[in-house]
Amino acid sequence: MTKTYSKRWIPYILIAPTIVYYIVFWLRPVISAVYYSFFDENNNVFTLNNYITIFKDEYFKQAVVNTAIFVIISVTLEFLVALGLALIINKKFKGANILLSIALIPMALPAVAVGAMWSSGFATYGWVNSLLYHLGLITADGKIVFLAGSDFQSLMLIILIDAWQVIPFMMVILLAGLQGLSKESIEAGYIFGGTKFTVLRKITLPMLKSSIQTALILRIISAIQVWLIIVMIYGYRRIPVLLEEVVFYEEQLLGFYRVALAYSVIVAVIVSMVSIIYLKVSGAFEKEEQ
């Protein structure tokens, strides 16, 4: 036995760069962020004040509530529309490819462009009202004041705007899943007497489960961290959400950088908890163990 020809180490060699990379460029900054979130900005002593500041802040509660509303409504809405779109595009019809191409465009738009688009659109004298006017749906005096609604309405508007951009992303994942399904098993559903709806509910969706899980978990994580679009349209603190508050503490107020770090830790904890609960409930863990 001169030489041991073993390949058990190969996968570890292959994943080592990733792990090293994560440690250097992710874990290190995260640890330092977590570490400093427990220290006072001025005299560097251990303190819980950064966290106490947040929990005492009345906007914190609002931010949690708003974020929860945002996540629940937007994820549900986006999922349903994305699924619908994916089912439509998955049907072979003339122009399905064109529809896919078009549906992908919003995904590629940078935040700057999206902000310009909607803030010029939803201004009272913006293009949305202009379009409605040209179509004869409103009169010159009947302009809709989109941005003047109550906080809840504003949140709904944000959800719609956000959905416009995010749906394609979810749709792509679902569509990819749908195209990977075997046609026979769905056809079998029809053969054995299923209606369109029951086949969808009892056969297509369960088979699509892992794609749905992927789409939802990615979306939930990013939905909890929504902020830019809100700030671009409503500014800070009109519709407080978790990450908007982080950025607010970090960028808008002086000397609150470590509070912002503490806030980030809280956000990270919330995101992790939600993800773990989601993964548990959806059964992703069990599948892993098989």
Binding site: Y12, L14, L99, I105, L109, A111, S211
Partner: protein
């Protein structure tokens, strides 16, 4: 039965058309606005198509020229500047309407206007003074009407019946008066326009905003090249590192596989904004701060995870036997990968690369913190746009310029996007 099917199909296509409209309308308007002049962009209602010509009206007012431009939205001429200096007028009109009035054209018009003005000088002056009186009368009546209206509201609230009818009568009287004045004013203005002004059209430079955007955005071209550099480096880093791990995922079983798989999610759980500052320190210590490489190192953190998922799914789609065959027939394991698996995975990998490319292409938030003298294109665009708050057309042009490459790339990889996500599992 046949009719039913036709109806269903029509309905289906209507839904599809509706979806397309919803997606495209905002983008359409963004593009339209980017092609509009400052004057057009702030007019209400926003026109459905940008204009290709500007119609100007030139008048003499005092010793100065008063130039107006036709507003398709208002359906009337809107004055824009009063000056006696042609250079100033030319520059102003160019910035305002995206039309460049040439000296020769202007001179010809001025000559015409002078002739006209000299001929009708007294009449014009008389008309102007009439307009002035009328305007002040109108102003008085308007103010009174509005005041009465608010009194009426109060009276109605208080239920003073006798006052209500009195006020109503007055309002009616004033409104009649107002209507007459307005009609007269319109008539006078029309006469004034006929005898005291010349009109001419100049073509509009439809892409002026784009030209101007690149003019005022300092270092737009170097920034553009730098952005490409950053994006390519990101692709390189995330594809080599993530691709290796993706290959391990697809081909091997190893301890901690599931954990690593979920790490993609973990990386996303901590808000990226908050680690930007510690990251700056790390990069400075490594000597990568404000360098394209530094930026791509940061972008890769987010991209590697995605690349792992996507490449794993691509590699899973390539049969192991192909690789084994190559090994049997004389290549090493590495050779088999490079000669067989890699060429086969190339389309999918290219798509995944494009994905990473797009991701780093449009990123702004981190780039602002992580660069100083060597900003990326999105950063210079962003900086210009922050300053251009009151110039929505310029903003739109910047947004479109930034979005265009990303959109084009997305459409290029469209074919592969589905393949990329095909085997991705949480």
């Amino acid at each position: 039965m046949k009719g039913n099917k036709l109806l269903k199909q029509t309905l289906f296509y209507l839904v599809v058309a509706g979806i397309i409209l919803v997606i495209l309308t905002p983008i359409y308007f963004l593009v339209v606005i980017s092609l509009m002049s400052d004057q057009e962009a702030y007019d209400w209602p926003t026109q459905m198509v940008p204009s290709f010509f500007n119609h100007f009206k030139l008048e003499i007012d005092g010793n100065k020229y008063l130039i107006s431009v036709y507003s398709p939205s208002k359906k009337e001429y809107v004055s824009i500047i009063r000056t006696d200096n042609f250079d100033e007028l030319q520059k102003f009109v160019r910035n305002k309407t995206n039309s460049n009035i040439k000296k020769e054209i202007f001179d010809i018009q001025v000559q015409k206007l002078n002739e006209l003005y000299n001929k009708n000088k007294e009449e014009i002056e008389a008309l102007r003074s009439q307009v002035n009186t009328l305007e002040s009368k109108l102003n008085r009546v308007t103010v009174s009407t509005v005041k009465l209206k608010s009194q009426l509201e109060k009276a109605e609230k208080a239920g003073m019946e006798n006052l209500i009818s009195l006020i109503k009568d007055n309002i009616e009287k004033y409104e009649k008066e107002k209507a007459t004045y307005e009609a007269q004013l319109k008539e006078l203005n029309k006469q004034l326009e006929e005898i005291g002004s010349v009109k001419f059209s100049v073509s509009k430079n439809i892409f002026y905003n784009y030209v101007r955007f690149f003019q005022v955005t300092s270092n737009a071209w170097p920034a553009l090249l730098r952005s490409i550099q950053v994006a390519l480096l990101t692709v390189l880093i995330s594809l080599t590192i993530g691709g290796m791990a993706g290959y391990a995922f697809a081909r091997y079983y190893f301890k901690g596989k599931n954990l690593l798989k979920l790490s993609v999610l973990f990386v996303r759980m901590f808000p990226g904004i908050s680690i930007a500052m510690p990251m700056v320190i790390i990069l400075i210590n490594m000597g990568f701060y404000d360098k394209p490489l530094g930026l791509s190192l940061v972008y890769s953190v987010g991209q590697i995870g995605m690349t792992i998922w996507i490449t794993a799914s691509i590699f899973m789609g390539i049969s192991t036997e192909l690789e084994e065959a190559a090994m049997i027939f004389g290549t090493t394991r590495l050779g088999a990968f490079f000669k067989v698996t890699l060429p086969l995975a190339l389309p999918g990998l290219a798509a995944s690369a494009m994905y990473a490319f797009i991701g780093s292409w449009s990123e702004t938030a981190q780039a602002i913190v992580l660069t100083q003298f060597n900003p990326t294109f999105p950063v210079v665009v962003y900086q210009t746009l922050v300053g251009a708050k009151g110039l929505i057309n310029l903003t739109a042009a910047g947004g479109v310029s930034l979005a265009l490459p990303a959109v084009v790339f997305t459409l290029i990889i469209r074919r592969y996007i589905l393949q990329m996500w095909g085997g991705v599992r949480v």
